[in-house]
């Protein structure tokens, strides 16, 4: 079975996000009244796995071993079977 995982990685709520703060200031220079900006990354990964449980386990490994640093970030995963 083939899956596509969309893995979002965001800084943990307690970790200061200077990039988000800079974007906040820039958006407010447009007069938009923005209250908060948090930045993150998105990874779209297509891969094969025998079933959904195995696919879910694989995305956990991807997040833990490479895509997110557990000190700084939390990953969230949307998993879709494409065939």
């Amino acid at each position: 079975m083939r899956f596509t995982a969309t893995i979002h990685v965001r800084p943990k709520p307690e970790v200061r996000d200077p990039q988000g703060e800079a974007i906040l200031g820039a958006l407010n220079s447009l007069g938009l009244g923005v209250a908060s900006v948090r930045t993150g990354k998105e990874f779209v990964v297509t891969f094969d796995a025998p079933d959904e449980a195995a696919a879910r386990a694989a995305t956990d490994t991807m997040g833990r071993e490479l895509l997110a640093n557990p000190v700084l970030e939390d990953p969230t995963v949307e998993l879709e079977q494409i065939r």
Binding site: Q19, L66, N69
Partner: protein, 240 residues
Amino acid sequence: MVRVAILRFPGTWSERDFEHALSLAGPAGSDSSEILWHADADLRGFDAAIVPGGFAYGDYVRAGAIARLSPAVKELRRFAAEGGPVLGSCNGFQILCEAGLLPGALTRNTGLEFRCDWVRMRVESDATPFTRGLRGDLLRMPIAHGEGRWVADQATVERVEREGLVVFRYVDGRGAATLEANPNGSLNNIAGLRNAAGNVVGLMPHPERCSEALLGGTDGLKVLRSLVGAVGTEPALVSA
């Protein structure tokens, strides 16, 4: 003879500077450092390993994240577990944190700047091969980084302070760890750390870029001379 391995990843840029600085650190002819390509680095027979600065793998994903999965880091883990001295500077410090060899993580500077400047640090621990006899000294070294803010959860911050794992702390000219002396927003002004055993040390500043008077300072040589003295006068920590 002191044999130091200097690791090179795609994107490393400070390996030749370290090679040159090490040639100045010991008596003439005593240095035999070697630059090793990350894909097949073999640290057997080396007295110490250095992970230099740069942008390993372009800093893709996060600084040090892809390097963490390189064969060289696997070998580095083995070498460090056997007590081999390991020094990571700048991107090397980021890689050691990503690899879990040092606590916490390094992320974007507060203040929106890539900082390329000179900083002062106080040596807080001499329980490492890189800081023997230097405790309490104020060192002046250059930095060049955009992601040098050390962060960790509160329990880890308390642990590194309690266990004396802070090796270098950003301070002002009078030795005070002020907000102004902190170039990147690091928690507790932390510039460098060691592991519990003391053989693994990481710091954001660049000792290799202040190892001769021509470059504006020689404090980096103190760190490298400490290493040369440590591995040159004691039985090798790592079997060949």
